[in-house]
């Protein structure tokens, strides 16, 4: 017997390992903060200590006297547009008349040492006329409101009206849910290195971002330069989670470099990072569900209020996402929903993993448990009863065309094993509160809760967020290029897997991620596997066609009868079999492909329209131990079944699931930016607590594979769903343990014990 050793190739479906893994474990990987250039200066930013004030005067004279200072810039040094923004350009590069949030940039310096920068910033004298901060989002858009920005305080208002708005049922349940302000808290803070061209006519910037081309567009306007003069390369990114969707230090660093004619590096410290990027919107969501006696949803009434903070960022899109996900993954024939995103003097809010859906889900899942209780059925039964299916109509009138295995998500989650009861001799670190705050074992009660969610993937409302990829095949080696931001999610692993699968090559070279190719859109909205994956797949397929034409011409075959089998080109109707390396030897095929998803539309005034591209689903079950006396919680286990379409890399998907769950746990019981009168009270890792190794629950995950025919490779994005319904599941488990209604997250000790 001859044993053939089957070689495992890193094709789609396999847990291919990260190509940057070796560099990362050795400390060799160049994060944007690790960059260095000959003759480099350091940049730093002066920020407002006040949430609302008029700038009366700025005196730079003392700062200029600090030895080592090379440049100081303010709004009057911005050569182009004075404001920027992702959707509406309402945010100043530097505040020029009024500061509208604590931490708003006013000036920047470049100097020989970070310490020199700090001293120079301290020497800048600003006279402010303090204005009362408008911090209540409800008041901000109330009758008597005073506008705090020329664009007004209402960033967006949208309603959804569907079906019979007078419909009701024997069960009516209502709740007002509060969601706190969460920080993305990526570990690698904002940083960039900008190098001016010799003639000062352009600038090259290495930056950690989610979307190179959008940054470039906004930077070029503010720098008053043609876009091609602003060249961006992705610096190594230490996590993103939405916080790098807006620009932060990009324009400041470039301006300092252009002003000094020297490379300038800027890097935020942790405290500055809390002020330097947008956060998850704090929100107040009121929902009233009408249901049949059996617990079937008849109608939902809802009102959303998102606090957008001082500038609009992506608030308009977050609001849209929130209200269009009011119903959750459940059928709902009648609805009346209104939503507002308002402007306040609180920190600006924008994109964070889950993007508006986190807030909606926290509310609708709280409501589902209330319906279950009123109908006398279990949390699982009420969700199964209402579970949406492919072909159902959403409250926007859009037909749910995506594969929707909601029922399976719920059933498979529920079937996962429960953890054993808390042992009587459990390690003290396993108890709620851990060491130091040790709960009394006799008081500890266990609770179980469920959460299910629906999440749109890709951008919505008519936006064509296409992606571009290039593939070159030569001598058996594929060389691929894209501008897709790698923020840790693993597109750099997936792209070569695609090339190997489509082209039958083993060796794949990935070129630098920069703006020397078309846009890839943003690494957000769980969209890169679908969009950039689709672009990469398309480019590789086009190259494969060229290869088949070439082979067919030589062998006088019809190219349509050729196929790739492992690493060979084979004739499906004959005997020809040549290794791809040989077939592509001495030739070079190059193709670039732009992938566009199907078009979407705006909502009309009643919130009707096909505004989303596709959806993914997930269910979570949380088991918690709670000490009701002290209000302490330990999340013991999270079980989850997630609709992933198709698993392209099991290890990567698992990493997204576990990582997302930890962030959702953070929002459930730990993480909140505390803002009082517009002032951030806890901008540090000492006071803003993140889940540690001791907080991480056991995760048991099941991936549901029902390939989506609309998705290029059948695979849905997997990044956001894990963090969405885990939060309400944990809070439901706490309610279940202590028998108390808790309608806010994060849940604080006083919410449990007082």
């Amino acid at each position: 017997m001859v044993l053939t050793k089957t070689r495992q190739r890193d094709v789609l479906g396999h847990s291919a390992l990260r190509p940057d893994g070796t560099a990362k474990v050795k400390g060799d990987f160049a994060f944007s903060s690790d960059l260095w250039a000959e003759n480099m200066l350091w940049g730093a930013t002066l920020r407002s200590p006040h949430p609302h004030a008029r700038i009366v005067s700025i005196d730079l004279s003392k700062a200029w006297k600090v030895t080592g200072v090379e440049a100081i810039i303010t709004a009057s040094d911005v050569p182009g547009q004075l404001t920027y923004g992702l959707i509406s350009e309402d945010q100043p590069v530097f505040a020029f008349d009024v500061v509208r949030y604590m931490g708003e940039p006013i000036a920047a310096v470049a100097a020989d040492h970070p310490e020199t920068c700090r001293r120079a910033l301290a020497a800048i004298e600003i006279t402010y006329e303090i204005l009362p901060p408008l911090t209540d989002p409800e008041m901000s858009i109330g009758e008597q409101h005073i506008p705090i920005h020329p664009d007004g305080n209402l960033i967006r208002e949208q309603r959804i009206v569907r079906g019979d708005i007078t419909a009701t049922g024997p069960i009516v349940v209502e709740g007002t849910y509060i969601i706190g302000m969460q920080d993305q808290a990526f570990l690698g803070t904002e940083s960039a290195l900008a190098t001016p061209d010799h003639d000062g006519g352009g600038v090259e910037v290495y930056v950690a971002t989610q979307w190179l081309h959008e940054d470039r567009k906004q930077m070029a306007k503010c720098l008053n330069m043609p876009e091609e003069k602003v060249r961006l390369t992705l610096g190594g990114v230490g996590g993103a989670f939405g916080a790098r969707e807006d620009i932060s230090l990009q324009v400041h660093t470039s301006l300092l470099a252009l002003r000094t004619g020297r490379p300038v590096k800027m890097q935020y410290g942790r405290e500055e990072s809390f002020f330097g990027h947008v956060h998850r919107h704090p929100a107040k969501v009121w929902m009233k569900h009408h249901a049949t006696a059996e617990g079937e949803i008849v109608k939902i009434e809802a009102r959303f209020l998102f606090d957008g903070g001082a500038y609009s960022s992506t608030s308009a899109a977050v609001l849209l996402n929130g209200i269009t996900h009011t119903q959750g993954p459940y059928r709902c024939p009648n609805a009346i929903v209104e939503g507002f995103a308002s402007r306040t003097n609180n920190p600006p809010c924008g994109a964070m993993r889950g993007f508006g859906v986190v807030q909606a889900c926290f509310a609708h899942e709280g409501q589902m448990d209330k319906i279950a209780e009123a109908a006398g059925i279990s949390p699982v039964a009420v969700r199964l009863l209402n579970a949406i299916r492919t072909g159902d109509t959403l409250i926007t009138g859009q037909i749910l065309e995506s594969v929707a295995p909601v029922e399976r998500c719920i059933r498979e989650t529920d079937a996962l094993p429960l953890p054993p009861p808390l042992p009587t001799d459990a390690h003290e670190l396993l108890l709620p509160g851990g060491s130091g705050l040790t709960a009394d074992r006799r008081h500890i009660v266990r609770g179980i809760g469920y959460g299910v969610s629906i999440k749109n993937i890709m951008y919505s409302e008519g936006f064509d967020d296409y992606s571009t990829a290039r593939c070159i095949l030569k001598d058996g080696v594929a060389t691929i290029k894209f501008a897709t931001s790698e923020v840790g999610q693993g597109f750099v692993t997936l792209a070569p897997q695609i090339a190997r699968s489509v082209l039958g090559v083993d060796e794949v070279v990935t070129e630098t991620i920069d703006t020397q190719i078309g846009s890839a859109g943003s690494t957000s909205a769980s969209r890169q596997t679908w969009m950039s994956g689709g672009a990469m797949d398309g480019a590789c397929r086009m190259v494969r066609e060229r290869l088949f034409e070439h082979v067919a011409a030589i062998h006088k075959l019809d190219p349509l009868q050729l196929a790739i089998e492992n690493t060979d080109v084979v004739d499906t109707r004959g005997h020809l079999r040549i290794p791809v390396s040989e077939a592509s030897s001495g030739v070079r095929f190059e193709e670039t492909f732009e992938y566009h998803h199907r078009p979407t539309e705006d909502l009309d005034e009643n919130g009707q329209g096909n505004c989303h591209v596709a959806f993914a689903f997930v269910a979570h079950r949380a088991v918690v131990d709670v000490d009701p006396e002290l209000g302490l919680v330990k999340v013991v286990q999270i079980a989850t079944a997630q609709d992933v379409g198709r698993v392209l890399n099991p290890l990567s998907v698992l990493g997204q699931i576990e990582g997302g769950i930890a962030q959702g746990l953070g929002l459930a019981v730990m993480e909140e930016i505390i803002v009082q009168d517009g002032k951030v009270r806890n901008p540090s890792f000492t006071d803003y607590l993140l889940p540690t190794a001791l907080d991480a629950p056991t995760v048991i995950a099941s991936m549901i594979e029902e390939p989506d025919p609309q998705a290029p490779m059948g695979a849905k994005g997997v990044g956001e769903p894990p963090c969405i319904s885990v939060t309400p599941a944990i809070v439901a488990a706490i309610r279940n343990a202590v028998g108390k209604s808790i309608d806010r997250c994060p849940v604080r000790p006083q919410d449990i014990c007082l």
Binding site: L17, G21, L187, G188, G488, G659, S684, A693, L694
Partner: protein, 161 residues
């Protein structure tokens, strides 16, 4: 700026002269910005995240909290010293194969922390591992694959005994 000094640091067995440096600089800053050793990362610079973990005279410390000038007579080990001959350590290898690396910003600190743990205890139980790593924050992975990597190394080392 005033308060500049010359001194020498012993990092990974090599003497590194530090010239004309402001004495207020942290060890993390000097390693990264003066000695060309940017493997140690700074994510909080106040001892909360562990990204900057190095080993000084056998103790794992946050290099962001150590004044560089106070470490002159010590042996400093950084991530760059682990795979000096190009061969990855078992811990580094396991971090890659078990999927413990996503963005990788926490990775150097965690790899140092895991090595340090296993040096003093070659067969730690689950809670010991969790406690030992609880000073190293990872925002991407949720820790599951990091525990898997540590377990894999422990199993290998036990099997190799």
């Amino acid at each position: 700026m005033s308060g500049h000094q010359n001194y020498t640091l012993n990092v990974n067995g090599t003497e590194h002269p530090v010239k004309d440096a402001w004495i207020g600089e942290s060890l993390l800053y000097v390693l990264r910005e003066r000695l060309g050793l940017p493997g140690s990362k700074g994510a909080c610079e106040q001892g909360e995240c562990g990204s900057c973990t190095v080993v000084i005279d056998g103790s794992a410390v946050c290099s962001c909290l150590v004044m560089a000038a106070t470490a002159v007579d010590s042996q400093i080990a950084t991530i760059e010293g682990l795979a000096e001959d190009g061969t990855l350590t078992d811990v580094q290898e396991a971090f890659i194969t078990e999927g413990a690396v996503q963005c990788g910003f926490c990775t150097p600190g965690l790899v140092m922390a895991v090595h340090h743990l296993l040096e003093s205890n070659d067969n730690p139980d689950e809670m010991t591992v969790k406690e030992a790593l609880s000073g190293n924050i990872c925002r991407c992975t949720g820790y599951g694959r990091i525990f898997a990597a540590v377990d894999a190394v422990i199993a290998q080392r036990q099997a190799g005994k």
